[in-house]
Subunit: 765 residues, 2 copies
């Protein structure tokens, strides 16, 4: 007889452990939270892109029955907040710099009263000239948006590796083009929301929708001028982040300020329009790319100029632009690269972090470019990528140590799925043309970027019933962190998932963590979870060896128990061991902690250095139909192949790649923020057209398991890479279908028709 | 120049860290908690001491608008709960065993509706013969209260050490008397209360007024037939416990059941009458004590018989009676002791743990006895205690290792304060007579009693601002545990108290702990806190040594910073070190855990063994006035001297000794539960007369610092010992004043007058 063991879920489709609470409506998002005496917050936003606040009169608003506080810039702390540039007040004073900027905040007994009170706040503005385009902002005559920022330059990156001039001299083909990318709204189902209150000890307690409870705490403390220890942030169930819920939005800060000023709990939840106005959208970049290639398709030189528009406040955009300027260089074997990137303030609503984090922008340009050059050289663009692809064990031009890569396999898998090498798409009769395109991408799994730590600490507790609780400060915003941690700890301890639970991050409870971005959680927290679980298991085994009077190496774990390998009937349930671990001389409950930190470096001042413990890769192939009469582009087939290292939960990764594909389709074809004089005029899901089911083909995808030596069981991050190749694959397919190269996203029917018209006119000229 | 250091508060009067929230009304007791959708619970209690439930009809109650659930025994889990005897259902079914037993529970949208619904529950009872006195219950003909408990005996203790027969043979004086003690209601300001809800994952979350969150969790899990891990208990601010809030009351269980059945948050807060009916009151014991003494006052034999009335359910009373049967033996150098104690079920409301935990009962008898014998031998009772007092380093008759004792010093201090040896009280003119009495006592600090562990784990976190958070599962129910932990950690890290905070126990967060009873928290959690704080300090020092490039032994801590001893300007703030502890290769936040377990043993089956890491002692002297016309006794002066080892917070210990003195006065003179046919008829503060300010003298007290080698900085527990000598000191003073020995508490005017009358009649006879 052998004792039964629990089937590990690792590598098997595993529903999210958070799913039941979500689908039954029981999960508590910030907007679901209600506490006694709670007030409702509302924010008054600037109607102007640039204006001076001449006078403020809140008396009428304050007089409205039910209103408990009306705060303006004068009531807000003097501290300025921001990521690298501390430049933004919680509520604007004197000057507003974008249309949507927080100017006043109300707390009232109902949301309706709070909303009505906004209408009673009298603010006189003197409109000032607004600069809405980065090219204008760079003009010497342009108004300065932030004091001391000459030419409105927020940040500038310049580097050259190898010799670009020598590289181009070796090239058989040099191609240069300019690409423009636009801002995408993250479109999470749950708008930003916060419930803030002051606890009996005077500490500020904040439940919030966030990708990082600890970064939220640090920002709240700094912006509200309080010690970090006087702030407690608890992550509410979070309905998506996509980069928008890191640290760039004022929602938490306004809610915290209202709670501190009123002494009451205040809930502040954006409605969709407010969220459009307040949320950072992805960074629009104008990318001028020049590549040199040999006739064999080897890239010998790259020169890129980027001008990016951060909007009124820089937020995380310096880091985003940094990624655009250099990350994709590491995908290929390059020697000669040069980047010059300039981040420019405008009076547009602030841009910021977004799934892909600057990779999408540059990979749109690069993949478009490679397609064009391959065509000129008579090469298959897929082959060009493969010929240039960096190999496992190699060090990239920027010093990245690529321990594993499935790039070539991803390209093969994606192209094969669309029969890339077998046949051309059959062209139907009529005005519709079919075409195929592909693109390749790379991303980081973790990134030693915000400081010299890219680690995570996981605490594993074993309760007296032998069940396990995990404390981690890493956020599950829907991407599956809690499920991943549960799977790993359950696997290591050979327990069913139901015996393991993960507490939502609470900064008073969880070990310090950075949060969910840079596709870091699986690799850093996953590795920490393995170590912590093994430590906990060792505690169980050590005591079981004493109790069973057998050496540890003769024991085995299974079925929530430890048994003697050769005599499985001699066993002790985890519950028994856990209890006896306490109830003995010198005992204590089993509660262990483990930290895993990536063996990476921060890049040096020449942006050189191995910043991530692993790098993930992806490739995508799509087939589109272009209606040459209407200009409409439809993605009719697709396959995205994701090198996730090891698919710990295939179902979850399919969810990620499917979502990424749809979000990429939205960015490439449909979604477009419409601004008039700097004002978002389509801030709702009727007018901001995210892809609906009929705009999306059957979503297909697969994995390549490159088994990264640094990843937990070989796994790498699988949240972001798959969004990267979508837009250029579509642009390439459009080109393949109709011979028209669209370089400015999104690829709208108007642009298709205009390009077709231009080509026709040129042909007739 | 030397760097400033923070003044340690250890040994100095320190306001409770919880005081501000409490006095400003911000502290959240269970009854203050409100959450959205919360229902209010109410409990229907048996009107009979013993009855069969013939029929139950809840239809009318359920039909009342606003009622969400009406539960009876049939709806409650089959599990039976209790401490050593599992014998009680959450809601009674078939049989009720005391007047006040929980029979049905209602949840409704308002408390008023819930109360009204109780009136609509139709329960038909068949009254059964009730046994209300233990002597009756022991009768062979008495009805059996619990199946299988022959003669209604719940527990029996018998032991003999040495030879009592030989001891009495050596005695010059043998004295025997019987003493009766009565039940005291703990009289905390906050009645029991719980808010229970089911979280989105289906776990039961309970905020409750408790002395032990983890024991509460274990009991909830067992009684509600759920895994421990599916229950989360969070201690609400707790307004006193005095033993009543350990694990003997059904409030939490009923609230939990209502929450599980309704799926809604349910708050169940006792009003005062309900609390009188539901709360365990102290254990009434009938003690027949026989002592043998030499003419020098040395005690050579002790024989005691105890009959204790546990009421309808045994709860913790076996352990309480155990203490009565043997603890006070360890105060003196005894060789020949014998105890026979019998715990008997009756149909009275259940009795249980109470401050002093059985010590008060026996020490009333013992101190009364010694006073009488000393008088007969012409000795000073204070001198008799001192001659018999166990010394430091000695092992008592039951194997207790008394590492420190200040008993003699306590006796000297208390008697000196009342000029014991200098003068007799002046007798005023008129009917009032003055008298003085003293008594001595001992108690445990910790107790290896509920299992083979008497430890505590403390977690110390240092946040990025250099401030500290402590996690402990030990409860602060007002006695000052949080302040003690704060003081210790602040002292070890040389921080102001404001930089240290303690989280209320939360079983999902705090390390496993047993809770607050047996005066254990200062010694076990205090020691753990020292170790944890020193570990955290070592982390700071180790990193500071690297950063300052100086060996650790050249560094010093002070002013929330670490400086080079010989160059104090070279320093790093804790905040800087804490941040750099994270932000470096292999870094992590400072979060350390330490466990301290007492080096004690569980007593063997002959109740022998050193059960506590330290033992505390106390003595009290009082002066009373007895009005011989009205029988009224007034305590006019008192001094209680407490051997607390080391007074970590003199203000807090004075608070404890003052409170203990008043509670002892109440028990001795004023408080008396009135029962009619087993029904408490004075369950309110108008009729149950706790001492008011005019019944209490100027409260005087002092410490003896015996500096226990096992205590943190020498400290021992200081919550319970001071209650022990109060009642016998008063009884002795009454005897001293009027020559009347009252052996049955409380010492009411009626008893005084009756005794005076008897004496007068005897004198005239």
């Amino acid at each position: 007889m052998t004792a039964a063991t629990t089937q590990s879920t690792l590598g098997h489709d595993t529903p999210q452990v958070t799913a039941r609470a979500k689908v039954t409506g029981k999960a508590q998002y910030a907007g679901d939270l209600k506490v006694a005496g709670m007030l409702h917050g509302k924010v008054l936003r600037s109607p102007h892109a640039h204006a001076r606040i001449v006078s403020v009169d809140v008396s009428e608003a304050l007089a409205l029955p039910g209103v408990r506080a009306v705060l303006t810039g004068a009531d807000a702390p003097r501290a300025r907040w921001g990521v690298s540039h501390k430049e933004r007040r919680i509520l604007a004073e004197d000057v507003v710099r974008f249309c949507g900027e927080e100017v006043a905040a109300v707390a009232a007994v109902t949301e309706e009263i709070a909303r009505d009170a906004l209408d009673l706040i009298r603010i006189a503005y003197e409109e000032l000239p607004a600069v809405l385009l980065p090219e204008e902002a760079l003009d010497d005559e342009a108004p300065i948006i932030h004091d001391g920022r000459q030419n409105n330059i927020a940040h500038e990156i310049r580097f050259e590796r190898g010799s670009v001039a020598e590289g181009f001299a070796q090239a058989d083909l040099v191609h240069e083009a300019t690409y423009t990318t636009h801002a995408q709204y993250p479109g999470y189902l749950e708008p930003m929301g916060t419930l803030a209150m002051v606890d009996p000890e005077g500490r500020l307690v904040v439940w919030t929708s966030t990708q990082s409870a600890f970064l939220a705490r640090a920002r709240l403390a700094a912006a509200l001028e309080r010690p970090v220890s006087s702030v407690r942030v608890i992550q509410a169930t979070t309905g998506g982040g996509f980069g928008g819920k890191i640290v760039e939005d004022a929602n938490q800060l306004v809610a915290g300020l209202l709670a501190l000023k009123t002494g009451k709990p205040v809930r502040l939840v954006n409605n969709r329009l407010e969220d459009f106005l307040a949320c950072p959208t992805s960074l629009p970049e104008r990318i001028t790319l020049k590549l040199g290639m040999t006739r064999d398709g080897l890239i010998v030189a790259k020169d890129v100029h980027i001008v990016a528009d951060c909007g009124a406040y820089a937020g995380l955009t310096s880091e985003v632009m940094h990624v655009s300027a250099m990350r994709s260089d590491n995908m290929h074997r390059l020697n000669n690269v040069r980047s010059h990137a300039t981040l420019v303030y405008t009076h547009a609503p602030p841009h910021g972090a977004f799934r892909g984090f600057g990779g999408t922008q540059m990979l749109f340009a690069l993949n478009s470019h490679i397609h064009m050059m391959a065509e000129q050289l008579g090469l298959d663009p897929a082959e060009v990528h493969k010929r240039n692809a960096i190999g496992a064990g190699e060090v990239s031009v920027h010093g990245w140590k690529v321990a594993s890569t499935g790039l070539v396999e991803c390209i093969d898998q994606a192209t094969a799925a669309l029969h890339w090498h077998e046949k051309r798409p059959a062209q139907p009769d009529g005005p519709v043309r079919r075409g195929r395109g592909m693109a390749a991408a790379m991303h980081v799994s973790g990134n030693r970027t915000i400081g010299n730590w890219d680690g995570s600490t996981v605490v594993v507790k074993i309760n007296e019933d032998g069940r396990v609780m995990i404390h981690s400060g890493e956020s599950d915003m829907g991407q599956g962190a809690a499920t991943m941690l549960t799977q790993i700890v359950a696997h290591e301890l050979d327990l069913p998932l139901s015996h393991v639970s993960v507490m939502l991050p609470d900064t008073d409870v969880a070990p310090f963590a950075i949060g969910s971005f840079a596709s870091r959680v699986t690799i850093v927290a996953g590795n920490a979870a393995i170590v912590a679980a093994r430590k906990a298991k060792a505690r169980l085994l050590d005591l079981a060896a004493i109790l069973l009077e057998v050496p540890v190496d003769q024991l085995a774990v299974g079925n929530a128990a430890i048994h003697v390998r050769e005599a499985p009937d001699r066993q002790l349930a985890f519950a028994d061991i856990a209890r006896q671990h306490i109830w003995r001389h010198g005992g204590e409950a089993i509660q262990v902690s483990a930290t895993w930190d990536a063996k990476t470096v921060m890049h040096d001042d020449k942006v050189y250095g191995n910043v991530a413990p692993a790098y993930s890769f992806a490739a995508q192939a799509v087939e589109v139909e272009v209606d040459t009469e209407t200009g409409r582009v439809t993605v009719v087939d697709n396959f995205v192949s994701d090198d996730c290292g090891k698919a710990l939960n295939p179902m979850a990764i399919h969810g990620q790649t499917n979502g990424a594909t749809v979000q990429a389709i939205g960015w490439a074809l449909y979604e477009q923020l419409q601004l008039e004089a700097g004002r978002i005029v389509n801030g709702n899901f009727a007018d901001y057209t995210m892809p609906t089911a009929d705009a999306v083909p059957m979503l297909r995808g697969g994995f390549v398991e490159s088994n990264d030596p640094n990843g937990p069981y070989g796994a790498k991050g699988a949240s972001e890479t798959a969004i990267l190749p979508g837009a250029p694959a579509i642009a390439n397919a459009v080109y393949d279908a109709i011979g028209v190269r669209i370089t400015d996203l999104p690829i709208t029917p108007e642009k298709i028709l205009a390009a077709l018209r231009r080509r026709k006119e040129a042909a007739h000229a």
